[in-house]
Amino acid sequence: MSDTDEEVITEAHGAGGGRMRELVEELAVSRFEDGTADVPLAALDDGSVQRLGDSDGSLVVTTDSHIVKPQFFRGGDIGRLAVSGTVNDLAMMGATEPVALTCSLIVEAGTPVETVERVMESMGETSEEAGAPITTGDTKVMGSGDIDTIAINTAGVGVVPQGGHVPDAGLSEGDKLIVTGTIGDHGISLLSEREGFDFEGDLESDVAPVNELVATAMESGTVTAMKDPTRGGLATSLNEMASKAEVGIEIDETAIPVSGAVASAGEVLGIEPLNVANEGKVVMGVDSDDAEAVLAAIQSHPQGEDAAIVGEAVADHAGRVILDTGFGNRYLSEPEGEQLPRIC
């Protein structure tokens, strides 16, 4: 209990769930004009979509700040994360060919130059992999202890044909839900690394740009809604998709791909793989007639081998996600706050 009743920002606000949404809506959305955007700030989507004068195209803009502990982790680092995060947010709006990215660094005084160099090297490689040129940036240094080593903000712009964007609110009854690969890898791997658990097996982050994979999917059928299940995990993404589209979502838990290493480590840590971040996966709604074709296309991509249809949008239970556990049913709720390993 705090000494005063003054409301302060807590780490729970940053965990990507309902509390963060409330905060953003209260503090930001109410104060910023929406202008003429097709997808405005108020939509709280992965990015905004705005018409470009008389042209046929619409501009997609997104921005993301990245902090992660440890900064270098199994399967990636903060640099790869910063580029992938923004490329993926653009892709989630349908902009799979990023026009340009920015790179703003805030570095703690005392950080070895070599550390920054490694991060830059990784950003360069990932930007090349995604076909997303980094064209401008900024650097600030803060005092020792004022920030933990390094924080990176990346913004990105992309273009989609007018009306060709994919909102996260686009689900309608009957749409199938596809996840593009194994769930929980990034979150479980980082948590176990942070807690000092050394599990056997291939536990590593899935951080990667997924724009090419998304393009492949969009070419083979009608994708109605997309999200990359980062903070808050698949559980949060599905709840957001259901509530924004005012549909119910039924998920077959046994169909959700989870690697053996993640499942075991999740059990030991007491953490649900569905509640933790993925950094290289997509959950998308697909018109049911196209679902098999889109799934096949995704599976033919090296990043999508484990893709699966995991459920569908239904008329009942608007705004909620029902999980068939293979035993009984329950609601899948959004995780609250930080995911902490369970002890007893």
């Binding site: 169909a255 996600v321 035993f327 009984g328 329950r330 609250e336």
Partner: protein, 370 residues
């Protein structure tokens, strides 16, 4: 989840077997012909029930409720205050992560930590002792949990721990609490599903006396979905036959005598005393305190702990935690549940711990009306 592992033993998660067992539950309930309430006393049971949506499988009339099965939830406020006082007094306080957010009168250990106290999260008693080995400072292990964690605490104390190590015990002993719950006038329990992991230590034979005295059947159950459904079916058989029987439905881990060396060690190091179980009642012989023989490691003996706090429990005034832990109410019957009372901002102890019924219900979303 579609888990791609060959090495995990999945026979206790076989949906087909679950279907057979639910059919059996249904036919047993038909035979019984009246509503039945089963109580379990373990957060891990509630976890599994909620996670696998097992309540949605139960036939009409069969209710399963969690009793006082969360050691953290029932840890009383003065006990937390003592740990906070020690931490603020410059000792290193090591404890399980679950204890961090449990509110004391004025502060939780988490609050004390934010104010600069040295509070460390550990995964075991031995890890706490290891901290003591690496420092000259006093390290106090704020120990919590039932027999499953009390036995490892005992093992550390019996193994000649460093001199600067001591234990502030908030360990609890389950069986007396089951008796209290069975005696509560409003609690109407037809059978108990006893906690399998505590019984690995104590053995299932321990419950014989309870079954005889309260004429209520008890079955020791494991934690996989099939274990739980099997345990329920066994209980319904006892109820149908009007037989206050005792059965072990967790034979791969639990024996009649339990883990005898662990038990001996536990009763060397600990003895029982009467104490307040937060929100429930004063429970006789259900708090584990350090015995005379090991009193040199008892933080109560070593330090003068006089928390300058007191007053009403801020938790239980506004919430129905007591009713929930006594098995007379479900979490979603509480008006605060998920609204004013959340894991980030708990009003009641049942929302604090990951073993707490309210937190579990919130985490796993509850059960749809379908």
């Amino acid at each position: 989840m579609a888990v791609d592992t060959g090495n995990q033993d999945l026979q206790f998660r076989d949906p087909e077997k679950a279907e057979q067992l639910t059919d059996k539950l249904e036919s047993l309930m038909d035979d019984i012909g009246e509503p039945v309430t089963i109580m379990h006393v373990c957060g891990s049971h509630e976890q599994a029930i909620a996670k696998y949506g097992l309540r949605s499988l139960l036939p009409d009339g069969l209710t399963i409720r969690m009793g006082p099965g969360c050691p953290v939830c029932v840890t009383d406020m003065p006990e937390v205050d003592e740990a906070v006082t020690l931490a603020e007094d410059g000792k290193i306080v090591a404890t399980y992560g679950d204890m961090l957010r449990v509110p004391g009168t004025e502060k939780s250990l988490d609050d004390a930590k934010a104010d600069g106290a040295d509070v460390r999260v550990v995964y075991s008693a031995s890890e706490a002792a290891e901290i003591a080995e690496d420092t000259d400072r006093d390290v106090v292990f704020f120990a919590t949990g039932f027999e499953t964690t009390a036995a490892p605490t005992a093992a550390v104390l019996a193994d000649d721990p460093p001199e600067n190590f001591s234990v502030l015990s908030a360990h609890k002993y389950v069986p007396p609490a089951m008796e209290i719950v069975a005696e509560l006038p409003d609690t109407d329990v037809d059978g108990f599903l006893a906690a399998g992991h505590a019984a690995t230590i104590t053995g299932y034979g321990l419950f014989e006396e309870f079954v005889d005295e309260y004429e209520t059947p008890a079955v020791v159950g494991g934690f996989e979905p099939i274990d739980i459904l099997f345990g329920l079916a066994r209980l319904l058989e006892f109820i149908r036959d009007d037989e206050p029987g005792l059965a072990n439905a967790y034979q791969r881990c639990v024996t009649e005598e339990g883990n005898v060396p662990a038990k001996e060690l536990m009763w060397d190091v600990f003895e029982t005393t009467t104490g307040e179980w937060r929100g429930i009642a004063e429970v006789p012989d259900a708090d584990l305190v350090i015995s005379e023989e090991y009193s040199e490691y008892d933080a109560h003996e070593r330090f003068e702990i006089d928390p300058d706090v007191g007053g009403a429990d801020p938790l239980t005034e506004d919430c129905i935690c007591g009713d929930i832990m006594a098995g007379t109410a479900d979490p979603d019957e509480c008006p605060l549940f998920g609204e004013e009372c959340t894991p980030q901002n708990p009003v009641g102890a049942c929302m604090v711990s990951s073993e707490g019924p309210c937190k579990i219900w919130l985490e796993y979303g509850g059960q749809p009306d379908i």
